[in-house]
């Protein structure tokens, strides 16, 4: 049920009270009318009883009058000597005062009942007695209503000597009216329903009398007083109700409506919670005033709570948008700001800078999370200090940071990026117990005159970042059109292929590049190079491994590669006894599943040479585990090679600490042997000599010419590989030494 408003309730109350007053008035009016009717009925009954009594009185009066007249001596005189009877009848009997003027006629009858003298006219008594007196009767003749009484007249008191009879005729109405002082009966409108020429006993005539009851003056006065009182009372009550309604409207309804409106306004979403006494209008009803004050107090507390909530919300918002570790904006803020900039809106002049801490996982694993966190904090602080005021620094996750430089041209972006790099390089990370410096890679993408969407800008920055991450790349890379080939790194198809290959090693297509034994220059084993063939398209390693590394999928991918090699061994693609070199990433060498799988392969292939090439050794964070695993592999019969020696991923420290059998000179170093200056050549020759002297077998990568082959053979390299010996997958024929 819909609740009613106080105004409607008040109106309903006033109307109900009015109806009640009118109803009660009507009820009392009906009650009084009913009581009045009862009284009137009672008065009519009293009137009839009164008339009946009057009739008895009339009859008795007639009897008394007739009796007195019959006993009058002059009556006897006339019956004896009727000579002067007319005189007696017409004057004497009236002059004597024995009869009243209401006696219309007097007559005497002899003993036989015959009238002494005939009468004529309306008032004539019958000439002959209708029956034997005494009797009294009611007679209606010619519209005249009269009573007639007939009595015997005796000469002696003992009523033994009958002289004759006496007849009297009365005016009925006059006699009736005289007979009684009527208190109830109103005989002014008396009607007699007796037909003409009829006669009856007087008492029975009551049934033919029609009359009203006299109006009761007390009752009329009471009714008038009641009506007046009721009218005044009703008016007083109605006026009181109107005043009450006005007072209720002024004191209750209006304040309640205002209060309700103010409260109702608070229901709207955009309603502001005001401060202070909200419901300012004082209410005249103490309970309502208490409600108003309670609401105001409640409002005050609600305001305080709201402020507190807003503050908390702001805090939560800030916390939600800030990275708890570094204090800079977090990934959520980055996404929201991106969303704020508009996904489809093309930017004007802007630059997106992505920062990634090099080898942070290795740092974290090596020095622990506490130091890792400190490194991240330091990096964030350095980057923040290097940015312009107003530039936002976002921590996208882990060791990745980003900033958007609005209204920045490429030059300004590079300057800022270099400043960031300088701040990082200037920071003393040794204070955290680290022995090597922390570096970052920076990818920059520019938007010129709004020619790029945000997503495109994001993609380009990613590509630039991956380019910067590549070995031997500068730490600051601005996106250029030539990086389009790297787009596979982030292409959805390549990523999908990597994940599918992890689940299904059959998608991995291995090609085998021969590794030649020197100085005889004959194939000793082959290195498995990984590709993925998805829907007929071949995805190359330069598109695979950045994804694997970026997605931290090294172990899972290496496991799938091991399965693929096992497959090739099984299906004969790798001939029996054909040695094979398998690349394991740094995370894989410390992964139990990978090591176990590798051990199982080595143990299953005891008749062939198995070389495990550990790439990106700089990323090995758990050196002891890695060393133990390497020892296990070596003990199982496998040879371990340190890949990319001389590049940023491998250094003498790892050579010194890791129990490897082979060292693979990075291609950059091989090229320096041919193209480098004298000093570089000397250094490389000395390093190669030192490694060989230390007992390691030394493998040269990227041998493309005979001169290069001769050179390394001259330097004592034990193995070589490269296009000079054939492209991967091609059969390699033994070559003659130089």
């Amino acid at each position: 049920m819909k609740p009613l408003s106080i105004g409607r309730l008040s109106l309903f109350f006033v109307m109900a009270a009015s109806i009640l007053v009118i109803g009660l008035g009507g009820y009392f009016w009906l009650e009084i009318r009913q009581a009045t009717n009862v009284l009137r009925s009672s008065e009519r009954d009293s009137a009839r009883r009164e008339v009946a009594q009057a009739l008895v009185t009339v009859e008795q009066h007639m009897r008394d009058t007739a009796q007195a007249l019959a006993q009058w001596e002059e009556t006897r005189q006339q019956l004896v000597f009727p000579e002067y009877y007319p005189v007696w009848r017409d004057s004497r009997v009236r002059d004597a005062g024995l009869i009243t003027p209401r006696v219309k006629s007097v007559a005497l009858y002899d003993k036989t009942g015959m009238i002494l003298a005939r009468q004529t006219g309306d008032q004539a008594l019958p000439n002959r007695l209708p029956s034997k007196p005494p009797f009294v009767r009611y007679v209606a003749v010619a519209g005249q209503h009269q009573l007639e009484a007939f009595f015997p007249v005796f000469s002696d008191p003992a009523a033994e000597i009958l002289l004759g009879y006496l007849g009297l005729q009365f005016d009925f109405l006059a006699e009736l009216k005289r007979a009684h002082s009527f208190r109830y009966a109103d005989l002014s409108g008396l009607k007699i329903a007796l037909p003409n020429n009829s006669q009856m006993d007087v008492k029975n005539s009551l049934a033919y009398l029609q009359f009203d009851a006299l109006p009761n003056p007390n009752l009329l006065a009471f009714l008038a007083l009641f009506q007046d009182s009721q009218l005044r009372l009703s008016l007083a009550v109605l006026v009181s109700l109107v005043i009450a309604a006005w007072l209720m409207k002024r004191l209750v309804v209006h304040p309640l409506r205002s209060l309700s409106s103010e409260i109702n306004a608070m229901r709207t979403v955009d309603a502001n919670i005001a401060h202070g006494l909200i419901f300012k209008t004082p209410l005249n009803i103490s309970e309502l005033e208490n409600v108003r004050r309670a609401f105001s107090d409640y409002q005050e507390r609600l305001f305080a709570l709201h402020e507190n909530l807003e503050q908390n919300s702001r805090d939560f918002f800030d916390q939600a948008r800030h990275d708890a570790l570094t204090g800079v904006f977090n990934r959520r803020a980055y996404d929201e700001d991106w969303h704020g900039l508009g996904e489809d809106r093309r930017l004007g002049k802007a630059a997106l800078l992505l920062f990634d801490c090099d080898h942070f996982k290795a740092i974290n694993d090596t020095y622990g999370h506490t130091i890792g966190d400190a490194v991240i904090q330091a990096v964030a602080s350095c980057l923040q200090s290097a940015l312009r005021a107003g530039d936002k620094l976002y921590r996208l996750g882990g060791d990745e940071f980003a900033t958007v430089l609005l209204d920045a041209d490429p030059l300004q972006a590079e300057i800022i990026a270099e400043r960031c790099l300088e701040h990082i390089m200037a920071h003393d990370f040794r204070q955290y117990g680290m022995s090597e410096p922390t570096t970052i890679s920076i990818g920059i993408a520019h938007s010129h005159a709004g020619d790029l969407s945000l997503s495109e800008l994001q993609k380009r920055a990613d590509l630039a970042m991956y380019a910067a991450k590549r070995p031997a790349s500068p730490k600051i890379v601005c996106y250029s059109e030539g990086m389009g080939e790297l787009s596979a790194l982030v292409a959805n198809r390549s990523i999908n292929a990597v994940f599918l290959a992890i689940r299904d090693h059959n998608l991995i297509e291995l090609t085998y590049q021969a590794v030649m034994r020197l100085p005889m220059v004959h194939k000793e084993y082959v290195e498995a190079l990984t590709r993925i063939r998805l829907d007929g398209e071949l995805i190359r390693p330069d598109a695979i491994f950045p994804i694997v590394q970026a997605r931290k999928l090294d172990a899972e991918f290496d496991l799938s590669v091991i399965r693929a090699i096992t497959r090739d061994m099984a299906n004969g693609r790798l001939p029996a006894n054909q040695g094979v070199s398998i690349n394991l990433s740094a995370p894989s060498i410390v992964n139990a599943k990978v090591v176990d799988a590798m051990l199982a392969l080595v143990r299953a292939q005891t008749n062939r040479k198995i070389v495990v090439e550990i790439t990106e050794t700089a990323l090995i964070t758990q050196m002891e585990i890695a060393s133990a695993n390497i020892a296990q592999l070596r003990n199982a019969g496998a040879l371990v090679a340190l890949d990319d020696f001389g590049s940023g991923y491998s250094s003498l420290r790892y050579l010194a600490t890791m129990p490897v059998d082979l060292v693979k000179f990075d291609i950059s170093m091989v090229r320096l042997l041919e193209n480098g200056d004298q000093r570089q050549k000397v250094i490389l020759e000395e390093i190669a000599g030192m490694v060989i002297s230390a007992g390691y077998e030394l493998v040269a990568e990227g041998i493309e010419t005979r001169a290069q082959l001769d050179k390394i053979i001259g330097m004592g390299f034990t193995h070589a590989q490269g296009f000079y010996f054939g492209k991967p997958g091609e059969e390699v024929e033994p070559m003659s030494p130089a």
């Binding site: 001596e73 005189q77 006339q78 000597f81 000579e83 002067y84 002059d95 002696d156 008191p157």
Partner: protein, 282 residues
Amino acid sequence: MVHWIFLILVSLSVFSAPVLAEPVELVMPNKLTAKAEFHKGDPGKPTVLLMHGFLQTHEFPTIHRLAEGLASAGYSVLAPTLTLGVTHRKQSLACEAIHTHTIQDGAKELAVWLDWLKARKASAIVLVGHSFGSVETLAYLSAYREPLVRKLIGVSAVEGRLKVDGPRREKLIKEIRALIKAQNKSLITEQFSFCQKYRATPESMLSYLEWTPERIIAEARRLPMQTTFIMGSRDDRLGEHWIERLQQTKAKVRVIEGANHFMDGDFEFDLLDTVLLELKTL
């Protein structure tokens, strides 16, 4: 003093030993029944017939008290009521009534009553009339000769007229006689006696008017028996010098000083005493 003691004794005897009255009804010659009251007394004493005044009955107080007193004294007393044309009359007849009776009718009725007394062995009869009853007894005595009637006592006897007198009366009498002669029976209304409007037939009116004072005096002088008139000195219903005129007759006139026409009050005893004294003279 002795007189007063005597009266007291008589009164005591009256009230201590009331005499029972006997109602008597008697059919008159005109077929009307007349009523009377009879007190039987000592046979050796005369019988008293008390005649009431004009239009009265024997119940009139003066007559009634006198009858009681006389009966107590041992006298037989008959107090009749003239019918005046009304049978069984026992009430006074109004002046305005239609009077058809004549004074002679009354005399006839007195004669009947005297016959009734004689039938009861009355030895001597004394007629006592009060007021106009005295005239009525005179009318009887003038018309009848009854030897047993020994004495007439007229108490407050009137002259028969009061309002009509002198030439007017004579003129009225002539007119009535003319009416009677012409057999005109129209009722006549005149002042008569104490009546302001006395309505009567011509014969009735004339019978009473003919009893003039002079006729009364004359008749009184002619009475052959003892006649006594007992008058009140303060009777205002009498004409001038009426008592003196009565005294000029041979009748004895006793005047009770201070008594009025009705001899009421203390004078009833004087009246009774006087009547008794007169009765003892027989």
